[in-house]
Structure formats: C-alpha cells, structure tokens
C-alpha cells in the first residue's frame, strides 16, 4: 500500500520542481516542502516493510504434556450404564464352552449322587480318566490371581508434591517453570529467545533442553506452532526497534524424563493453571491445552 503512494507522490513533485524552476513563483515553494515531507514519509514506510527487522522479539515456548497413565474414575451414570451394558450382553449371548462344561459336570455330579448310579457305564463313556472339573480349574485360576498384587491406582492420597511427575495419574499434566521475564519472576511455559538461523521449533527444543537439572525426552508434534501470545513491553522499555514480544508455543508429549525436586518445576492439570498463570497469558494458553 505504501509503494504506489510514494510513486504517485514522486512524479508530481518532479514536475513541480521543473515548474517552479520555470516560473520561479514563491508560494509554490511552500507546497513543494509539504509535498516533499509527505513523500519522505511514504518512502520511509516503504523501506520499513522491506528491509528493517520487525519490532517484535520472537520467543519459542514448549507446552510439554504428560499424558494420563491410568484411566479416570467413572461417573455414577457411567457406572450404571456399564453395568446395564454388561447385563444386556450377557442376556443376549449363547453359552460358552466353559459354561457348558460346568453344566455337564454338575449334571454328572447329580447323576453320581442319584440312587441308580451305574459307574461302569459312566467310565465306559469317559474312558476311566481322571477328569478335572471346570469348577476346579476356576478355583486354581482364582488362586493364581490372588498371588498377583497390582500397583495401587490412587497413589496421591498421601499428597505427592506438585513438582512430581507421578501426581494425578488419571489426568494429563503440563509443565510450568519459573523464569525471569523483564523485572519479575513468573510461572510460565518454558521458553527461549529466537536466534537467527534456526526454526522456531528448534528454539522451543533449546528452551526445553536448557532447563537446569532436568532431562526430559519429548516428542514434538510437528513443526507448526499451536498458539501465540503477543504482548507489548511496558512504556519504559519500549523502543522503536522492539515494541513487544511474540511467544510461539509448540506441543510436545513427554516420553521419558526426570527432574530433581529442588528446581522450581510444576506439573499442573488444566484446571489448576488459573492459580499460576497471568490472566492474559492464561487466556491464550488455555485454548490449545486439551483435557481430552
């Protein structure tokens, strides 16, 4: 938009100059000056869009999520429905092999206990083998199951610290770190400033790996940023060159990692983000953190 304006301004100016030289009138000089200043402004804006770097500082941040490890607790309605489904499936099904065996065994028992029991006939049918009844098998299976002790589902009843990865196994957690931005230390998603020659995703990876005393192995989901947060610096810091900063967020899933408990890390659920992030930041970040 700036380019055609400046071109249009140039031509009449040149013609004006030649006219002035020819006529030598003074009052046209005033108009000439004003036109030239407008032309200069036009050329300035044109050069800004082409060569001058943008006034926004770029940051790459990573939204590292630990996906849930166990299934969530059922709602009461989900419980009822699951029971109903199980009941209906049982009613509509046929007898399985195991159930048939159970029935046959129970019939055989009743026949054995009856008065007119002919053991020779029975043994002739089954070849006189020692048969293991289905009921016995069931009992042995139950015994085996009792020997196995699974890990407990609800471990955080004891109250695991917020910095531990093991808390709230049923929900997906997001990593928060405390960093100094400007004058204050605030909780935010780990970020790093963009340097020339690298893509924003590499910036985000650098931001994650440069966290002190923590090695997280994460898989980044693609090269595209999932969100952006744009903010202007306070008026004292603002210069012509940098008006503010844009933070681009990248999503990643945690595959393996550990961190010492000393460093200020937080693993928070989506509902708990409100207590740590600033409102405008939270507004932008909340959109792409899915609780699904």
């Amino acid at each position: 938009m700036a380019a055609p304006c400046s071109r249009m301004a140039n031509r009449p100016l040149w013609q004006f100059i030649t006219n002035v030289r020819r006529t030598g009138l003074k009052h046209t000089g005033v108009r000439q000056i004003s036109l030239s200043s407008a032309c200069r402004a036009a050329t300035q804006t044109r050069s800004k869009t082409e060569g001058v770097p943008s006034p926004w500082k770029l940051y790459g941040a990573v939204c590292l999520q630990r996906l849930p490890v166990i299934s969530q607790e059922r709602n009461p309605i989900e419980d009822q429905f699951a029971e109903l489904m199980h009941q209906m499936e049982l009613e509509r099904s046929l007898l399985s092999d195991h159930e048939q065996r159970l029935l046959e065994d129970s019939e055989r028992m009743t026949r054995k206990q009856a008065d007119n029991y002919d053991s020779d006939e029975e043994e002739a049918d089954y070849g006189g083998q020692e048969t293991i009844t289905a009921q016995d098998q069931e009992d042995t299976w139950e015994q085996k199951l009792k020997h196995f002790q699974p890990a407990l589902r609800d471990r955080d009843v004891g109250g695991t610290p917020l910095g531990s990865v093991e808390r709230c196994l049923g929900d997906s957690l997001v990593l928060l770190v405390q960093q100094t931005v400007g004058k204050e230390t605030i909780w935010l998603l780990p970020q790093a400033q963009w340097e020339a020659g690298e893509t924003l995703r590499q910036t985000a990876e650098r931001g994650l790996s440069s966290l002190p005393e923590a090695d997280f192995k994460a898989t980044f989901l693609g090269n595209t940023p999932c969100g952006v947060y744009r903010y202007k610096f306070p008026k004292e810091v603002r210069t012509e060159r940098c008006v503010g900063a844009k933070v681009f967020f990248f999503k990643a899933f945690l595959s393996a990692g550990s961190a010492s408990q000393k460093e200020p890390f937080l693993w928070v659920k989506k509902t708990e983000l409100q207590g740590y992030l600033k409102p405008p930041y939270l507004e932008k970040v909340d959109r792409f953190i899915l609780n699904l």
């Binding site: 490890v69 009613e91 589902r153 898989t219 940023p225 969100g227 952006v228 959109r287």
Partner: protein, 198 residues
C-alpha cells in the same frame, strides 16, 4: 583272370590316393561290403541337413507346453474364505441357548430411561469436545497468521511436514499404573491360525 586280379589289386591304391569320392565305386575294398550290409553307404552320401527340423520340433514342444500352462492359468484363483463370516457349526447348537429372562415392567422402564440419560450425557460430552477442538484449531490459525507477519521464511519452515514424527507409538492408559521392575511370567503358545495361499 590275371588281369582282373591285377585290376583288383591295382584299384585300392588308386582309391586311397584319390581324395573325394564322387561316384558309386562298387569295386575294391567296398566289394566286401556290398555283400554284407550296406553300413557304410550313408557315410558316403551327402550329409543330412538336420539344422532346421530339430529346432522346429523343440519349438513345437515348447509351444504346446506353454498353451497347456495358459489353459491352466485361465482358471480363476480359489477365493480365500473369510473365517469370521462363517459361523462355526458348533455355535448353532440348541443346547447353548440361554433362557431368555422375563423382565418386569419396572426393570424395562429403568433401562429405557437410563439409555436416554446416557444419550444426553454423551451429547454434551461430544459438544464440549468439538468446541475444544475448534478453539485449538483457531489458536493454531492465529499463530500461523502472526508468524507470517513476522517472517515468510519461518512461516514456510513451520508449514513443512515432519518426517520423523510417524510412526508414532504411545502406550495408552491402563487400569492400574505400571509396576516398577515387574517381570511378567513367560508363557508359550501354539499359533493354530490357518494360512491360505492362492
């Protein structure tokens, strides 16, 4: 007589000196063979030209074999049966049928109401999911817009697909969390699935 003998004795020398044999010489050493079987006669005849006939015969044999193969191949291949679509005979047995229960009126009512409530619950859940996904997509679109305003180069780098992402594997949530240092018991199994070849 003497002359004949001399001629008889003289001729072999002549024959041996001569190279090519043109005519049918019935004298000299061949005289003995004339009485016996004419085994050497073909040796002296023009050699048979076997070059064309044999290759032709072999070619004919090969063509016949190829035609037979083509006839066999024209038969369409047997279709592999899908074992899931055929109910095995043992499940058609009548003894397997469970007795159909007679539900009281309250029970059937309760079931119907529960199903309706469930559909309402699932609908709200679905709407919430769709909304959340919509917000996430909108956030990504805004991010790409802002990036484009910043620099075209970074924008193009962001649009490039990541070849290392797929295949992506992740263990989903289980009912109980995994035990640290748990050794699963080893087991053997016999795979009895039928493999068909066409």
């Amino acid at each position: 007589m003497f002359l004949v003998l001399s001629r008889q004795t003289a001729v072999p020398t002549n024959v041996s000196s001569l190279m090519g044999v043109d005519g049918h010489v019935s004298q000299g050493p061949w005289f003995a063979s004339v009485l016996t079987l004419k085994t050497s006669a073909p040796l002296r005849a023009e050699p048979k030209k076997k070059k064309k006939v044999d290759p032709r015969r072999e070619q004919m044999v090969r063509e016949r074999l190829k035609k037979k193969l083509k006839k066999l191949e024209r038969v369409p291949p047997e279709l592999i049966p899908i074992e899931d679509f055929t109910t095995p005979a043992k499940y058609m047995d009548e003894t397997r049928v469970r007795g159909a229960p007679q539900l009281p009126f309250e029970e059937s009512e309760r079931r119907a109401l529960l199903l309706k409530e469930w559909s309402r619950y699932k609908q709200t859940q679905h709407r919430a999911e769709m909304e959340a996904v919509g917000l996430a997509v909108e956030a990504q679109r805004e991010a790409l817009e802002e990036l484009r305003l910043e620099s075209e180069e970074l924008y193009q780098a962001a649009l490039r697909p990541d070849p290392l992402l797929f295949p992506f594997n992740h263990q989903g949530p289980s009912y109980t969390p995994p035990k640290a240092q748990y050794e699963a018991p080893e087991g053997k199994y016999n795979n009895i699935t039928k493999v068909y070849t066409q």
